[in-house]
């Protein structure tokens, strides 16, 4: 049902969210998506049927080349979302962060009341030779890839330069790795549920100097799904919604060498500035943040670009344990982040929203709960910073 409210802006609630476990899946694409959708549908407190959904946005990068066209139609027909407008959203690793934004805008605009945003990626069903399919496909293929760069290399360039310009070192990245593995250890949906000691993380196999294996997220399969509702229908489904207080997004030059700075992600700065402004909040108001730590240096830089640390102080922030759950100033990546929870590219953004939904409703596994969590942020980056979506969620409606 569509409700036209003229110029009155609608608030948007998350009424349900679910995902598959991230990791190496035996399930195929359709079954994986169906599992995430089923988990999201069953998380809705009151009666909900997928036929009530007005529209769906599904983030995905490429499925290893298996189904490049009409992917959203293929998936949604297997989750009871027949006949409605659906589309795939592709913005590299930020695909479902932008699917979430598109779903939010569809409701904000008054064109839809109930919208599904989701994401999926199947990365581990390729032969070892074919797995190279995934390397470097979302960077600047013409100039970066032909200089030998895939994303570990690009982020390694950022890391070395950050160490050169600021008070940071690889030791700070080790702290981030240890923290995220600690956070993810008790997350039942995490890809790598393993605590890692400082000594082990410090001495990992060199992937892209100076980044080691323990600085890099795994290659994961997975799907995630969230259900958004307009304020005037949200209470039909739950008395305990989580509100999307704002959405911010931005883009930047695709290639690292074309950007004014290689130690800041301008897209993150712009997206978060927009999101904070629309929500009337600052970084100090955030209790927990799911940030895009595809590499540990990405988390270090994100803490600066999102305003949790001053520019250049991300290393100090990590060193002092400021992002540790229930110990630091803000919990960074309570799910374990991409580093531990995993990174099925297209599923990551809405996967972050699933974690935030559970944290703000107090339904995560006991030890993982961030105390007194009222306000949360998700930060989803495409590639090495070309696209970024930031969302702020709260227990309270905006304003």
């Amino acid at each position: 049902m569509l409700v036209h409210l003229g110029h009155v802006m609608v608030d948007v609630a998350v009424i349900g969210a679910g995902q598959t476990k991230f990791g190496n899946h035996q399930l195929g694409l359709k079954a994986m998506w169906a599992e995430a959708a089923e988990n999201a549908f069953s998380s809705v407190d009151k009666d909900f049927e997928p036929r009530q959904v007005d529209e769906a946005f599904i983030g995905s990068v490429a499925f290893g080349g298996a189904q490049l066209g009409n992917t959203a139609a293929l998936l949604t027909e297997h989750s009871g979302l027949d006949g409605i407008p659906v589309r795939r959203v592709e913005n590299a690793c930020a695909s479902s962060g932008f699917a979430l934004r598109d779903a939010w805008m569809a409701i904000k605009s008054g064109q839809a009341d109930l919208v599904v945003a989701g994401g999926i990626e199947k990365m581990n069903d390729l032969s070892p030779e074919r797995k190279r399919f995934w390397l470097g496909v979302s960077g600047d293929t013409e100039w970066e890839r032909l200089a030998g760069l895939t994303f570990p290399g690009t982020y390694a360039l950022m890391a070395r330069r950050h160490f050169h310009e600021h008070d940071s070192s690889h030791d700070d990245l080790v702290h981030i790795s240890v923290k995220n593995h600690m956070h993810g250890f008790e997350n039942e949906d995490a890809h790598i549920r393993k605590q890692v000691s400082y000594e082990k993380a410090e001495s990992g196999f060199m992937v892209a100097d100076p980044l080691t294996l323990y600085d890099c997220c795994p290659t994961s399969d997975g799907a995630s799904c969230v259900i958004l509702a307009a304020d005037h229908v949200a209470r039909q489904f739950t008395e305990d919604p989580v509100w999307i207080q704002s959405s911010g997004a931005a883009s930047d030059r695709l290639a690292l060498h074309d950007r004014p700075s290689v130690t800041q992600l301008i897209a993150t700065q712009k997206a978060s500035k927009s999101a904070y402004s629309a929500a009337g909040l600052t970084a100090n108001d955030i209790d927990l943040a799911e940030v895009h730590d595809c590499f540990t240096i990405a988390e270090l830089m994100a803490t600066e670009d999102l305003g949790f640390a001053e520019q250049g102080q991300g290393g100090v922030f990590a060193r002092e344990g400021q992002g540790v759950r229930n110990e630091g100033s803000v919990c960074i990546n309570p799910s374990g982040g991409l580093k531990s929870k995993g990174h099925p590219l297209g599923a990551t953004g809405t996967g972050q929203a699933v974690e935030v939904f559970k944290q703000l409703r107090g339904t995560v596994e006991g030890a993982r709960q961030v105390r007194d969590a009222e306000t949360a942020l998700t930060h989803n980056v495409g590639g090495s910073g070309a696209t970024c979506a930031v969302h702020i969620f709260g227990r309270e409606r905006n304003g």
Partner: protein, 282 residues
């Protein structure tokens, strides 16, 4: 000490108006090309040297083993292979390849000269030499195509002049490289017409493990033990990322000065793709 000097990663010696240029690598007493060189890259280096000394080489005879299009894109020197309108007798310069990795750039009417052998040569490891040659042979097979993202021939050629010669756009005092299309006002940025000075400083660097290398490098990266990339800033402003010539074992430092030479980047569908690589300044 002989009269040889280092130029674009090769050894060269000048005699009157002739240039002799050779690879610095020796294998079983034969001068051989390094891991990313061939007669095309050496021809470009030779012509560029002559240009730097004020010799205007507009037309040149090339042997069949040299990729005339790449030479033309990199240097502007036309060849009979590239330009059907050129007449044999109008071509002023010869580029004579030897049986080994050597070339002579000379005027067509030049007399012959003897060049003595250089001393500053390097013995190349037999296993490495054979493995790299085999990798290049496989890479040049017509069916060899990189996986995932793919730079088509037309896309490669669209950027080839900028890639091979550092030709850049200029807006006011600002140099733009690699080339861009429209500006913030929706207006087309003028075509590349200014050459960036081929000197830059290292801002960062990495060495990517073989397993993480792009599929274009999947055959050679394991032999090399990974792929090293430099992020550099040109003296005139733009940044770029570059591989290192000869896949040298080079320990870069931020602030190092590098210059550039055309080398093989990779091969796909039977075609070698060339581009600039960085050379640490000696």
């Amino acid at each position: 000490m002989d009269d040889y000097f280092h130029w674009k990663g090769y050894l060269a010696v000048m005699n009157e108006e002739s240039l002799f240029i050779q690879s610095p690598y020796i294998h079983e007493d034969i001068i051989v090309y390094g891991p990313d060189s061939d007669s095309t890259t050496m021809a470009i280096a030779g012509i560029q040297y002559m240009h730097s000394k004020g010799h205007l080489i507009e037309s040149i005879h090339l042997s069949d083993s040299i990729d005339a299009r790449t030479v033309f894109l990199a240097t502007g020197a036309d060849s009979m292979a590239h330009n059907a309108d050129l007449k044999f007798e109008d071509v002023a310069w010869d580029l004579l390849g030897g049986e080994e990795a050597t070339l002579v750039v000379a005027k067509c009417n030049a007399q012959s000269y003897d060049f003595k052998a250089p001393t500053d040569v390097e013995i190349i490891d037999t296993g490495f030499f054979k493995d790299m040659n085999e990798a290049w042979r496989l890479e040049q097979e017509v069916h060899h195509v990189s996986q995932g993202a793919y730079v088509s021939t037309s896309q490669y050629l669209e950027g080839a002049v900028a890639r091979l010669s550092l030709t850049s756009q200029k807006v006011g005092d600002r140099m733009i490289w690699p080339p861009r299309q429209l500006d913030e006002n929706g207006l087309r940025i003028s075509k590349e017409s200014h050459m960036l000075l081929p000197e830059a400083q290292v801002e960062s660097w990495t060495k990517l493990s073989a397993a993480g290398a792009p599929s274009e490098f999947s055959l050679r990266a394991p032999i090399l033990g990974g792929i090293q990339t430099l992020l550099v800033r040109f003296t005139q402003g733009p940044r770029g990322v570059f591989l290192v010539t000869d896949d040298l074992e080079y320990s870069p430092k931020i602030g190092d000065t590098v210059h550039f030479a055309v080398r093989r980047i990779y091969a796909q569908e039977g075609m070698i793709r060339y581009g600039l690589k960085a050379i640490p300044k000696r």
